[in-house]
């Protein structure tokens, strides 16, 4: 490098890396413009930022004894009043605070499980799309199998057998929800494999992994992103359902766990709607936000969907 320190004429072509970065920035900007044009997607994105903010801020500013069973001051399942504006749970803790606390664990499990699904789905999808013939056939049969299985049943069975912890929940949900991603990514990979630059790469002697890693992966990344965002919505729903069925990590409060506590402590017969309504609404809204974002991103990526 030091020998080339003399100023060069402006006509020097930019390095491959700089070109790639510029092109990447350009397409990211295009994508953002298409995404921003959709109101539903923006509503979802703003909603999600609020939820993330809640998840980060609540443990920092809330009183530290909000989750303590022994130091709770409210009455047993007391209706909303001036002090507890969403009433209290069976121990006299504030439902409003519990719901805010639940955001963190629910989001963490949902996002982590979707990431697990993303890694498996992308890997299977690219490999199945790249290698034709037997490998592809076997992988797609496995994908189909996972796609059609009653995923909730499989997830329940896995959590019962492996134990109730966050790690197990993440793995169980991830393993049961990667198939959709794999299918989409495989179709996209097939399309990319036919393009001239891959033919060129092959002619220059690029190996299988180099073709998949350097050429296919960057091209499917936006689609992976959209698919993962949708997967988070599904993962949060599955987590809530598992938790509601009693399959939660007792040390980590999630919305599903709150609803399970409400159910098993007789909130229904007590008519304690303030205990049932808030966590469920939070699940609904956060899942809706992820779904809206994912759909908007899909539309932004696929001009055919813009009608």
């Amino acid at each position: 490098m030091s020998t080339q320190s003399t100023p060069r004429p402006q006509s020097r072509p930019p390095s491959a890396r700089a070109l790639r970065m510029r092109r990447w920035r350009q397409s990211a900007a295009d994508l953002w413009r298409e995404f921003r044009a959709q109101r539903a997607g923006m509503v979802g994105l703003i909603g999600l930022s609020i939820f993330v903010a809640i998840a980060v801020i609540t443990p920092l500013v809330a009183p530290s004894d909000a989750l303590s069973v022994t130091q709770a001051t409210g009455g047993r399942m007391a209706p909303p009043d001036g002090e507890y504006w969403l009433g209290t749970d069976e121990f006299g803790r504030s439902v409003a605070l519990l719901t805010l606390y639940g955001t963190r664990v629910t989001l963490i499990i949902g996002i982590a499980a979707a990431l697990v699904a993303m890694v498996i789905g992308t890997l299977v999808g690219i490999v199945a799309g790249h290698f034709e013939g037997r490998v592809s056939w076997i992988l797609m049969r496995i994908t189909e199998w996972f796609m059609n299985l009653p995923t909730l049943v499989l997830a329940i069975v896995l959590v019962v057998v492996l134990g109730r912890s966050i790690a197990v929940l993440v793995i169980a949900i991830g393993i049961t929800s990667w198939a959709g991603t794999a299918r989409v990514i495989r179709a996209q990979t097939r399309g990319i494999e036919g393009r001239p630059y891959l033919e060129r790469a092959r002619a220059l002697g690029a190996g299988h992994w180099s073709q998949m890693g350097r050429h296919v992966l960057p091209n499917v990344t936006p689609l992976v992103l959209a698919s993962t965002i949708m997967a988070i919505a599904g993962a949060i729903l599955t987590e809530s359902t598992l938790a509601f069925l009693g399959l939660y990590d007792p040390n980590n409060l999630s919305w599903g766990m709150l609803l399970n506590r409400a159910w098993s402590n007789g909130a229904m017969s007590a008519g304690a709607w303030w205990y049932v309504l808030p966590p469920g609404l939070m699940i609904l809204v956060v899942v809706l936000c992820f779904t809206l974002c994912g759909r908007a991103l899909e539309v932004a990526l696929n001009p055919r969907l813009r009608r």
Binding site: P150, L158, L237, L259, V276
Partner: protein, 354 residues
Amino acid sequence: MAAEATTPLPAGSAQGPAGKLDNAARTGVGTGLGKYLLNRVSGAVVSLLAVLFSAFFIFRVLPGDPIDNLMRDMQSATPELEQALRAEWGLDEPLWVQFWSYLTGTLTGDLGVSIQYQVPVMQLFTDRLGPTVLLGGTALVLSVLIGFSLGAKSAWLSGSKFDKRNVNIALIFFSAPTFWVAMIAIIIFSRELRLFPTGRMVSAHTPDRFWPQFLDIAHHMVLPAITLTLMIYAGYLLTMRASMLDEMGNDYITTARAKGLRDVVVRRRHAMRNALLPTTTLVFMAIGNVINGALVTEMIYTWPGLGYTFFQAIAVPDYPVLQGLFVIFASATVLANLAADVLYWFIDPRARKA
């Protein structure tokens, strides 16, 4: 999410040369249907074997020793019970012997004995199957009718207020946790308005004759059926809408309109017929979804079906019941998919050329 599952993959490379020969010998002429069926059935058999393998793997291999696991979770564990279970499950045998006896047992309909009820899982299954089929079937029919008609109309009027409202409502039910919707429904309709009972399938005092029983069961089924329908119809609506939008760009629609046909006729006889092709098979393919939904719905309404049985087995945990029902649920989805593939052959001529 559901939109990806519209069409089954065309019959393709699944057939080896041996299969082709075999098939030609069997049918005389190489008819397409025989080949297609052989292809699909062999695929289903492989999937069923995969179900059996995975059940064995999950319940016998993954936890290390299922008895240790069970004893840890069970409240009333005694060494005698542990010994008895170990002998009963044949856990002192080598793994491949266990697998063989499990395989032969399952294939002959022996799914083990439930820990909590002390009856064979197979008997539990036949006892509890009826309510699940009744509830799941009713909800499936309702959601197909509602989802397809609303979806088709929504696509037809795409961009209109009707369309937007439909899609938004569907998305909300798509995003809402079923169990929570059910909880709200119970609070509103059972607790406050006292319109419907909250649990079980029949009341104890109902006379044991057909009509009183029928009406009582129908009364008990209103809330569960609506809950389950709300959970699954959204997927059908969105798929039908997407499928219909695809068809609407086609030339034959323009032709039909140019002939001066009424709007309703173009929609029902032309567009919807073609849009139904990929979506009909979806009904069968989404059986897994119905099972997922039935599990939660039955649990909340204490509906005495398979889903409720499965739920009750979680807390014990009643491994033979969990394992047996897992095998049954997964096999049901495999068979439903096979049915979808076969149906697809008959309703879509294009499948025959693939």
